[in-house]
């Protein structure tokens, strides 16, 4: 199994940390993982993206031009990365702020209303975990339990009270897709 994933959107949407949480869960499940961010001024509100690879074999290039899954969170990213999804791959997008919908027919396109759900939930910090919940429902490459275990290991103790909220967000995200 190899999953080559790109998550891309605005800086500040939690793109990099969503990728990090996913990669860390893969690590806990004994998979080979790589996490390659765009870095620099992107962190300050431009577009940010991260390539995450999970595999049961050693990973060659951490940089890719074709992805099994693209999680796309703004229009610029959709314009840039729609053509880079492998035929038969999956494009997950948040329709908020999207004015030109994905057009490809040789891939699976999944809409996840993550922004809308986040606003309704009243917890703006849950956004990327809602997306992660949806992604893992579609592709259970790691289990939500492992994700929570990873959070327990990596979050400083003072933030552990946030873990139940994160678990709820993952569960909520899973309800947004079939």
């Amino acid at each position: 199994m190899t999953q080559e994933i790109i998550i891309t959107g605005f800086g500040g949407q939690g793109v990099l940390s969503m990728g990090k949480i996913l990669a860390y869960a893969g690590l806990l499940d004994g998979l080979e993982v790589s996490w390659m961010p765009s870095y620099g001024p992107e962190q300050r509100g431009g577009t940010a993206n991260v390539t995450v690879i999970l595999s049961d074999e050693p990973i060659s290039s951490p940089v890719l031009d074709q992805y099994d899954i693209a999680v796309i969170l703004n229009q610029q990213s959709l314009d840039k990365f729609e053509s880079h999804v492998k035929p038969g791959g999956t494009l997950i997008y948040d329709p908020y702020g999207i004015h030109r919908l994905p057009e490809r027919t040789d891939i699976k396109v999944v809409e996840v209303k993550a922004t809308e759900t986040t606003i309704a939930s009243g917890n703006l910090k849950a956004y990327n975990m809602i997306l992660l919940g949806a992604l893992l429902k579609l592709y259970p490459m790691v289990s939500p339990d492992t994700v929570i275990k990873g959070l327990e290991k990596t979050l400083p103790q003072r933030h552990h009270h946030l873990i139940p909220m994160n678990r709820a967000a993952i569960e909520q995200g899973a309800t947004l897709v079939d």
Binding site: L27, W35, Y39, G40, S60, L64, D65
Partner: protein, 355 residues
């Protein structure tokens, strides 16, 4: 963890005595991680944010003169500033580790990854006839492992070593097994291992002086010959490289660092199209794996040197191939990271491969 973080952890675990550095993207996590880990409270390692890269490399010179294991890290523009100091360190035969997490230039350039400091690293960089042992990590694991390897080689030959990394390997996260902890050397061990160390005389009869100045030309030529003899020995003993799918290869990629990883993916793509390509990845950029490339040049139809620069290592590959097989170059620069498909297309078009 990130490659840059792995360097910090590995340095503490190796028993490094001192780190001196100045922040610059994309390697600031090295200093940040060390400050976070506070090794001065555990191993006694000194960590200092200097006022400039110039000061940092001269701190390294000063610390290394006392026999301690000291290191610095920076990125391209900062490493340019360090070149004078590196020349002094090489001339003084001081074991040190210098890390360059390369970004694109010239000038202030970009903070995005690049491999355009190859010439600077392997051909000298500063003034005078000297060499650095140059190791090219391609993974986070390599970043952790080569800290120890770099210091081991530096102390073995009394010469500075460099890790020539880049923004990808520095910033990416991967699984890593950190080396085991070992204690820092005691003063007595340092005195035994480095009888030349400037520590204060401490009962020694003869004083130790760390200097690179010699106005007598004949003596200076002798000093140069001594350095060259060390370099010859390093070239004989320390060439390191990795071969990947070269056994049946019709074509060969030569690539180092992150680019070798990208080429492995390119090999997967090319082979799925029936093009048999292999990879030679130099681990030591100096000493360069000239012999291995020469051998392979006798049996492949062409070599593509893939680098994130305008064509630097390709010169050394051409020298190794000596015209036995065509050597082409593929490069992107300015911080553009090529994707595996581009490399395959370059191979196919430059060698007119019919599928």
């Amino acid at each position: 963890m990130k490659g840059n973080e792995a360097i910090a952890h590995a340095a503490i675990r190796y028993g490094v005595d001192g780190y001196f550095g100045y922040p610059i993207t994309p390697q600031s996590e090295v200093l940040e991680t060390l400050e976070e880990l506070r090794p001065w409270e555990t191993t006694g390692m000194v960590v200092l944010q200097s006022e400039s890269e110039v000061a940092a490399i001269n701190m390294v010179y000063g610390g290394a003169s006392t026999g301690k294991a000291v290191m610095t890290s920076s990125s391209s523009p900062g490493v340019s500033l360090m070149q004078e100091g590196i020349s002094y360190i090489a001339a003084g035969q001081l074991p040190t580790l210098i890390i360059n997490v390369m970004r694109g230039g010239p000038g202030l350039g970009t903070i995005q990854p690049s491999q355009s400091d190859y010439f600077q690293a392997v051909k000298g960089g500063g003034h005078g006839d000297y060499r650095l042992i140059v190791l090219a990590p391609a993974s986070v694991q390599d970043m952790a492992d080569y800290v120890g390897l770099g210091f081991d080689l530096a102390f073995k030959y009394r010469t500075p070593a460099m890790l020539l990394s880049d923004g990808i390997v520095g910033q990416m996260m991967e699984k890593v097994v950190l080396p085991p902890f070992r204690p820092r050397r005691t003063d007595a061990e340092i005195a035994k291992q480095c009888p030349w160390a400037v520590t204060g005389k401490r009962g020694r009869k003869e004083r130790n002086v760390s200097t690179t100045l010699e106005l007598e030309s004949r003596t200076m030529e002798e000093n140069n010959r001594r350095l060259q003899a060390v370099y010859d020995e390093i070239e004989r003993n320390e060439v390191r490289f990795e071969q990947y799918m070269t056994d049946d290869a019709d074509y060969l990629f030569v690539a180092f660092g992150c680019m070798s990883r990208i080429c492995k993916k390119s090999i997967e793509q090319a082979r799925s199209r029936g093009i048999k390509v292999g990879l030679l990845r130099p681990i030591t950029l100096w000493p360069f794996p000239t012999g291995a490339i020469a051998d392979l040049s006798k049996r492949v139809k062409g070599i593509l040197v893939a680098e994130m620069n305008a064509g630097q290592m390709v010169e050394d590959v051409r020298l190794a191939a000596e015209g036995r097989t065509p050597v082409a170059h593929f490069g992107r620069n300015g911080g553009i990271v090529p994707n595996p498909g581009e490399v395959v297309e370059s191979l196919v078009s430059q060698f007119s491969i019919k599928e």
